[in-house]
Symmetry: C3
Subunit: 154 residues, 3 copies
């Protein structure tokens, strides 16, 4: 099943590519056949969906849902840039940044919220290299930020 | 206007490529047509220009000026490696790391100090994908570190 | 001397590629001639070799040894993926993440544990661009995580 068919089957509503928020950057840059998508923070109508740190205000299940939302935004940006997610030939790398209260060490389970959706949409081509790390703070006070690197076919 | 002409117009003094400091790494590596520039911390004569965290010792305006300085160093490295900044065809990605006291959430405004200079120098080709995140600490106690990925023409 | 000959001379025991731990990701992805290796945390038999922060429980020498262990794991993954480390034509980039207690600013010396091993194995081709930054927390409570980007020949 194609990625776009899978998005439809899952009932995902992918946003049109967001204009960048407070930052002087663009949602994505294509260089050769690599599409670099800017770090996504979970937003609704331009405002953070949640704020706080994992290990204090935010639990793992909520954090994973927020990482999934970052992924939905990243997929929306990729589709807007490429015209169709079916042009993605591989998800290459995911960078997962998790705002972490002292002692929080379950970053992988949080970032899995984004990784699972990539596998759901792209199948084996959605399996990626990854970093997951714990931050002091993130922009707007969000608990999770995720960036994406996609390989694109001609 | 070419990037080198713009650098001259802006009166920027780009340093010759720094030798790496305490780290066993090189300022930049070219692979294919991608130039990876190592994370830059704001230095003068090999010493940090400022130390401290955003949200406590360092205000946003100072932080943005330090991010701009990281960018000046990154541009100096790129020019030294390539011979001329006019060989840069696109700024692909910027990674912005901001040392953050508890509650500091304005990372985008800090990293904008680097992003604005890239747009000033390269115009639309300076618009890049970006991550901006908040760190517990940075090398030498600096408030900001920025890394760069440039696409290079033949 | 070839990289594989050097590994033998150094008596390095490179693990077979680990299956990914708690994360829904793969050890490495090859896109074009770039091999992206996932962030490695120092493990033995699937458990963290050490936990804690630099600047409190972990000293620099121990941290550097743990970064070297991350590198051994990354080299094992690259060999498993490529068949031989002799296919690596350049180490392009290293990302070094160091769990940092307040006031710890010697991240470069810690990440050098990985960088030195890359130079030992690959010679000048092992000299890489790098970021070294200080994290609030890391997965499983480890003190160091390192990711790798290798350029691969045909």
């Amino acid at each position: 099943m194609s990625a776009e068919a899978k998005v439809a089957e899952l009932g995902l509503q992918l946003p049109a590519a967001a204009t960048a928020g407070a930052g002087l950057y663009v949602p994505a840059v294509l260089s050769g056949n690599l599409l670099y998508v800017s770090g996504q923070v979970p937003l609704k109508d331009g405002a953070p969906i949640a704020t706080g740190h994992l290990g204090s205000e935010i639990d793992i299940e909520t954090g994973a849902a927020l990482a999934r939302q970052c992924c939905i935004q990243g997929l929306g940006i990729a589709r807007s840039y490429l015209g169709s997610l079916d042009r993605v030939t591989r998800v290459v790398r995911v960078g997962g940044f998790v705002a972490s209260a002292p002692g929080f060490i379950d970053h992988p389970q949080v970032v899995n919220g984004a990784s699972q959706l990539l596998i759901d949409v792209f199948g084996d081509a959605g399996r990626h290299a990854r970093c997951a790390v714990g931050m002091a703070e993130l922009p707007l006070g969000v608990p999770v930020e995720v960036e994406f690197l996609f390989e694109v076919g001609v």
